[in-house]
Structures are given as C-alpha cells and as structure tokens.
Amino acid sequence: MSVIRCLHSLMQNRKISPQELTEHFLKMVLEENPRLNACITIADKTSRKQAEEAAKRFEKGSDTQFTGLPVLLKDNLCVQGLPATCASRMLADFVPVYDAAVWEQLHANGAVLLGKTNMDEFAMGSSSETSFFGPVRNPRNEALSPGGSSGGSAAAVAGGLAVCALGSDTGGSVRQPAALCGITGLKPTYGAVSRWGLIAYASSLDQIGPIALCAEDAAFLLDGISTKDPRDDTSRGLAPTASLLREPVTGKRAAIVREMMEGVSLPVQKAIEDTVRRLHSLGISVTEVSVPALRYTASAYYIIACAEASSNLARYDGLRYGHRSKNPAASFHEFVCRNRQEGFGEEVRRRIVMGTYVLSAGHHEQYYQKARRIQALLRRELLAALEQADILLSPVCPVPDIPAGKTLADPVSVYQTDLCTVAANLSGLPALSTPSAIWENGHPVGIQLMARPFADGDLLQTAYWLESTGTRPPYPKSIQVLMDGKEEF
C-alpha cells in the first residue's frame, strides 16, 4: 500500500531509475500545473541533478527510504538558492541562503525536490486563494477550493504531481486541504519537527507536517523530518512511528468530541458515523467526550495567531530584502508603509492589523491575555479527555467542501470553519486528517483524529487500520501506472 516503499523497492531492483521517476513527475508537474496552479517554483534543473545523485547512491548501495523520492515543499520552507515566496508579493524575490531543517534531512537522505508549492499568502487562509500567484484548484473538482493554506501541496499530491509533500499547519493548514483533496495530512505534536527554515506565521502554533497518499507514507515522511534540532529551542523530536503501524489496535479507546459535532453538515455527520462503525469493527471502542472550552477556541486562536503574526511579519519593511515600492518615500516611515501596503495582500493586512490591535495597550488584557487563558483551559480539557480516550474523533471541517472563490467575502464565517482544527494547534496535540469512506462531490470526506502529545504514532496507526477497512481512495493515475499490480506494498 505504501507508495514510498513501493517506489523505493522499484528503484532498488532497477525496475525504474531515479531519473526516470523524476522525469515522470516533472512531466506531470509541467502538464498539470497550468490547470492546478499548485506550484510556484518548478525546480526541474536541481531535481534532475538530485535524481542523478540518487542514482549514484543506489549504485553504491547507500540509498535510504527517501533516495530518489520526488517531493514538493510548501513555499514557506526555505531551500538554499530557490525562492521562498510565502505566496506573497513581499517575498516574491526572496532567495534564502539556508535550508529548512526538514529539507536538510530529506536532502541528506537523497530525496528529489520537484519544486515549491502554492499556498495562502504567509499561510493565512483556508482556501489557497490569497496567494499573490493566483488560486490553487482542487484536482478532484475544479469548482472547489483545495483548502488551505497548504492547498498547493495537497492538490499536487492528490493530483499525482508528486509522491508526497510537506505543508505547514498553524490552524489546520495541513489537515484541512488534505481532507478537501481526499488524502492524508498530519500536524505533528508541537516540537516534533524543527521549525528552522519555516517562515513563521504564528511561531507557537506553526508545525510542519506531511501530506501523503496514505498513513504509512505520512509516517515515513514524519520519521524522516522529526528531530530535536539545536537551532529550534522548541523542538523535541519524536520516536519513530512507521514501525508501529501494523501493531494491532484492538482495545484502544476512541471518543467523539461533542462540541466539534455541533452544526456539522450531513455528509460530514455520515463520515463520522461510518468511521465509528469501522472503528468498532477494528475492536476500538467509541464513546463521547465534552470539551466545553471549544466554544471560545476559534476566537482565541485568531487572537493568538494574529498577535504573533503581527510581530513575525513586522520585519518585512523592504529595507534589506522583500518588496520595495517604486514610489519614492519622504521618510523611513513612509517607505515602510508603502512597501508593506503594496507587498501584502488583503488577508495578511487584516491579520496584521487585528494582531496589532489585540496586543496594544488597553486591549492586551481584554483579548490577548484572555485568549491565553482560554488556550490553557482548552489544553487542560483536551488532556483530560485524552485520559478517557486514546484517540479523539471529529470532523476536520464542518462542511465537506469550500467552493472556489467564496472565502474572501466573509472572513469571519470562514474562520468559524476552523474550529475543529485549531484546537490541536492551541494545545500542541498531534492531529491527523484521513479520508473516510463517504464521498461528496467527487472526493472522500476527511475525518480528524487527535491524540496525546507525542502520540503521533497512535494516529497514524489508527489511520492505517482504517485504511485497511477500505477507506483509502484510489491513488492518482500517475502513481497507479508506476505501482501497477504492486498493491502488496
């Protein structure tokens, strides 16, 4: 079932070369990107070079799981020598001189970087439509948004442009697009993965996570990027997860989070009910828990995320790098204002203003401090719920779809759809989005699993067993042709 294992075995047995594999996916990217707009940068030159190096490693026998594996990175992850735009005009020309820790690790293992994926500007959004480089399309249904903010990564993987990709998740930005594109996405426990080289949105909530075609691929990718990095004070690393997946799950306890079921649409309701039946069939009990603090969670999330964003994005003044207005300025103040006014899109400006406001004298206590208290309360309640259950089950998003082109009109109602996902970021818990067996508008409806801190492996294991009951959708054609008849993986 694992695409990563299958392709590695094919390369090891010389059934396909890393160069052939890379060309296969580059061709997909070049053909499909005009339709999907999933990639901002296509790194065909460097990926061919990396494929050659990968081939040498196979010859020498120094290959790893990732050698020759074509991957994509969200465009807020730094790769030396390639633009890292964050889908913003502000950083359209910014080329970092360092690699993100996650890419360092994958690169060291011989992975092939096909390019950098489109996203909501500075990861702010749930539809991948706030990008300076235009919206991303959902490969399963072009009338739908692929979700966001890691919509480019999710669309690319679901569309067969790459085997897997990395996204970043500050409030659901890996899980929600994975759900809307019908694939697997994991937000690891805060601290499992180093944030070095991830261009920050909200530092205390940001976490890099895998987007993959199945739970096992996600586990491989997670194991490949999790580390305790001396450069990231908040990183802790994580014990390997992939080896756990096939362990039996019988006897585990799951619980539905009551507050996350309020007001969900019928297809989502059905997806949860179907998942409960499948969990039962796997020998997992399902009860219900209540997490009252969830009522305030979306507000608390937006206050904390915007507060940190207002500070993190204040450095983009156009002085040392970044967008510089062509209009002359009379003062430093005016210079900065012009560069920022032109460099940032509407949603980013909105969140900077909001974040500045909630931190300002006189409002700090009313908003920021209160949000922090809600955050602490939520974490306590979720940890208490996870005393009664090993896995918390919920929707990813209360609706199965977000129509393309609808989100910017009414930001607050869009913010509300993030309720189910932001809880994991606020509390640091790992959370995973996996396809259910219920389909709507041409794609499976995603469901979310949450677990205790650093129990990321439990989530992937449960998702793996759910897949074994037949929930996993067929792989994209470009993958199927490679794996033809090799389902045993």
């Binding site: 992850l77 964050c86 944030r195 070095w196 001396p230 990231d232 004070d233 207002s310 204040a314 500045t356």
Partner: protein, 469 residues
C-alpha cells in the same frame, strides 16, 4: 522653593560574551560593518534565536553581586517597534519576569539604592549618518545587554555618579563587561523629578536617554534640576517626556512626549522556551563571585592599615588588586607594596585602559623579592625606588641589578668615616647646627646618603652625626 531631587537610573551594560545572545556571531567591537552577522541576528525569514546560556550566567552573576533575588523560571518577551536598526522589528527582552529582582547597593554616604530589576536583552544595530544618507551596521545587533533598573532613590548628582562608577567597577570585577562608556558598552537613562523638600510625593518625571559619559550625566542632571525647578517655581507643571542631552549646548531637548509614547505590545517570545535556573546553578555561581570592590576596599583598610584613598585606588582595577594581593602573599609589609604600586607602577599605567589591563613588566614575585630586601634591611628605600624603576624599564629581576656592594650594608667603621667626610666637606652646615639650627643636620645626613647611595640607616647615621658634632 527648595526642592529635593528624585532620580532613578536604567543602566544598559553590554555583556562580554564571545558570541551574541541568540546566535554564534562575534560580539567584538568595531569590525567592518555588517561582517558579524548571520541569518539569525539579521532576522531573516525562517531563522530562529537560540539563547546563549553564558549570557544568562553573566546576568545572574550581576544579580548576585547586587544582592538580587534570582528568578528560578523566567521567559523572554518581544518588545515590538519599527526602526531600521532593528531587523526583526522587535527586540527580544524580558518584560514581566526579569532574571533578577529586588537587590540593593550601598553608597559611601551610607544611603541604600534599591535595585528593582535586572533583565537580559539584545542590542540593536547602529545607524551611521553620513553625507546626507543613512547607513545601517548590524554588527552590534544581538550583542547581549543587561538593563539594571533602580528605584528612584538618588537624591544628588554625586550619588548617581558614584552608583554608576560602582556599576562599572562591579561589572568589570565580575568579568562580565568591559563597561567602556566611549564604546557604548555602558550607558544609562536617567529619570528625574523634583519635589518640595520634605514631601513624600513623587513629582512628574522626565527621562534623559542614553548618557554615555559620567560628566555628561552629571551635567545633564544638574541642568534638568535647574530647568524643572524654574518651571515649578513659576507655578507650572513639568511635562512628562523623553529628552536627549546636548553636551555642546549643555542643555536637554525633547525627543518625544508622553502622547506619542511607544506602545511596545510586549508578549512572550514564542521561539524560546522558558529560562530555567535551578537552585544548584545559583549556588554554583554564587560560589564563583569574586570579592567585590567595596568589600575589598574595606578589608584593605582594616587588614593592611591602608588609607581610604590607597585602598580605593588599589581596588579600582581588578587586575591591580590581584597584583597587589599576589605581591603581599610573599612579604610582611603590605604598605610597602601599596606604595610601590601606587607610586612607580601607577605612574607608568597612564590611561584607564592601561590600569584595567595592568600589564606590568615586573612580576608580583619579583616585586616581592625587592620589597623583601627592604624588610630585611638590606636595601634602603630610595635605592628600592631606583631599582624598581630600572626593573620596570628592563624587566630584569632585582638581584640582577643590585651589586654585592648595594646589598652589603654599611659597617660602623665605614659609616663613621662617611660622617667624618660629610662634616669636613660641609662646614657651613656644621656651623649652623652648632648654632642651634636642627635642620642643618638633614643636609649632613643627605650628604652621607648620597655618598653611600642610600645604603646607610638614617637613624643610625643621625646618631653618629650628633655624637661626632
């Protein structure tokens, strides 16, 4: 009306760690602009700070030296403001949990200055204004700073100056900062208000920013006292504002008023974990504290019978005090060592820097050996001085420079003949003495000493001369 000064200081001190507080760049002063920089101190997207533990230790040492309590758990905060010398647009500092708090220092007049807090933060870069344009140098960006905040306890200009000098001295003793005001590694903001003498209420204060010279600070406070007193005397209110001091014009001028005060929007730095200081670490650092200048000065006065001035001068520079202590560990008369150091040696250490470095060509052992000769009466004091000068010039040891004859002393026969010679050659002095002028004896004594190059014992010689006359 008669007013009382109410003044507090916020002193910024650059720590002399090898590397910056959140990255591995050098903290060396100077250097080609923008050469001590990296993605972290330039705040490039995707970079993350990592706290330099040495800077934390230095801050704790400062806190312990000033009698502070040390916070077992504190955290860093972001202080947000936009300025071209601050590439992240926030300074990583400490807001509500300073590493050290509630300490005090005692001034020589017995008054106690309470220390409110000491926190750790990063320095900003430097703007260079030249020929109509402004350039930015980020070398200083991220150099660790501590800010020491006092309560408004100063009542005179002299107290403020003494405190600041004491801070400089203490930090240098601790070895945590060179505190060079001209290089900006020690600078102070001064908060000043006046109140009618006898009143307990606090007046409206002004803040003078960035005083980087003792003299300027004294002049600025003196000016501000006059300015505020004139306003109050006229029945008006002092405006709460931030001022800068213009040394050429000897006056202050407003930088910004309370209305456009900055809103720094502090919040906890999410990129850094809490700073934990286990009790064991505090005790380990406490044990490392050197004897501090004030204590040392008192001990020198009491233990060695030095004058206040001698003790103050010897303890003013840590290396000098160490040198002194190394010398006296081998001799019986500390006073002689003090005289040598404050005399011949000090004369050669011309600048503050020289004294701070205390590169003395004569080792403590060599000076002790020389003084030992004096103690064992093998050498007279003026020959000692002369020998010491030669030792300082050549770096040679005293035994190399002094001849057998120099060290042989004078036999009673030789002394008698020398006295005879002096009497014969100075009839005028002899006559004066005989006619009752006591002073004339000194001239004869001098003549003897000249002849024997100071090897004779003065008391002994005088006795001889009297007998013979």
């Amino acid at each position: 009306m008669e007013y009382e000064l109410v003044c507090g200081l916020e002193t910024h001190i650059e720590l002399s760690t090898k590397t910056k507080v959140f990255c591995g760049c050098s903290t060396a002063f100077g250097g080609e602009p923008n050469t001590h920089c990296c993605p972290v101190c330039l705040g490039l997207p995707g970079s993350l700070p990592k706290l330099n533990r040495q800077a934390v230790e230095y801050t704790i040492l400062a806190g312990l030296a000033l009698g502070c309590e040390i916070s077992p758990i504190s955290h860093m905060d972001r202080k947000n403001y936009c300025y071209p010398d601050l590439p992240k647009a926030y300074q990583i500092s400490q807001y509500d949990t300073p590493l050290c708090h509630d300490g005090e220092v005692k001034l020589s007049n017995g008054r106690v200055i309470r220390i409110e807090r000491i926190h750790l933060e990063e320095d900003a870069g430097k703007l260079i204004h030249e020929s109509g344009r402004t350039l930015v140098d980020y070398n200083r960006c991220g150099v660790p700073l501590i800010e020491i905040v006092t309560k408004p306890d100063f009542r005179s200009v002299e107290e403020a100056r003494e405190y600041l000098e004491l801070m400089q001295l203490t930090m240098r003793y601790l070895g945590i900062s060179d505190c060079k005001m001209q290089e900006g590694s020690l600078r102070s903001d001064v908060n000043i208000s006046l109140r009618p003498k006898g009143s307990e209420q606090l007046g409206i204060r002004t803040e003078i920013k960035n005083m980087n010279s003792f003299t300027f600070m004294e002049r600025a406070i003196a000016y501000e006292i006059r300015r505020q007193a004139a306003i109050l005397d006229a029945g008006q209110c002092v405006q709460q504002e931030t001022l800068r001091f213009l040394p050429e014009e000897n006056r202050t001028e407003p930088m910004r008023s309370k209305e456009d005060a900055q809103d720094y929007r502090f919040f906890p730095e999410p990129d850094l974990c809490a700073v934990m200081v286990p009790a064991g670490e505090i005790e380990r650092l406490r044990a490392k504290l050197p004897e501090l200048p004030q204590a040392k000065q008192n001990r020198y006065q009491q233990q060695f019978g030095l004058s206040e001035e001698e003790a103050r001068l010897l303890t003013r520079y840590r290396k000098i005090a160490e040198y002194f202590e190394a010398v006296i560990s081998h001799i019986q008369t500390p006073k002689n060592a003090a005289n040598c150091i404050l005399g011949q040696i000090f004369r050669r250490l011309k600048t503050e820097d020289d004294k701070e470095r205390a590169e003395i060509p004569v080792s403590p052992d060599a000076l002790a050996e020389l003084i030992g000769l004096l103690e064992s009466k093998k050498l007279r004091i003026d020959l000692l001085k002369k020998t010491l000068e030669t030792m300082l010039d050549t770096g040679k040891g005293c035994m190399e420079l002094l001849s057998q004859e120099d060290l042989a002393g004078i036999s009673p026969e030789q002394l008698e003949s020398l006295c005879r010679q002096a009497i014969d050659e100075n009839p005028k002095a002899v006559q004066d003495f005989r006619s009752g002028k006591e002073k004339a004896l000194k001239a004869l004594l001098g003549a003897v000493m000249r002849q024997c190059r100071g090897r004779a014992d003065a008391a002994e010689t005088e006795k001889f001369l009297r007998k013979m006359l």
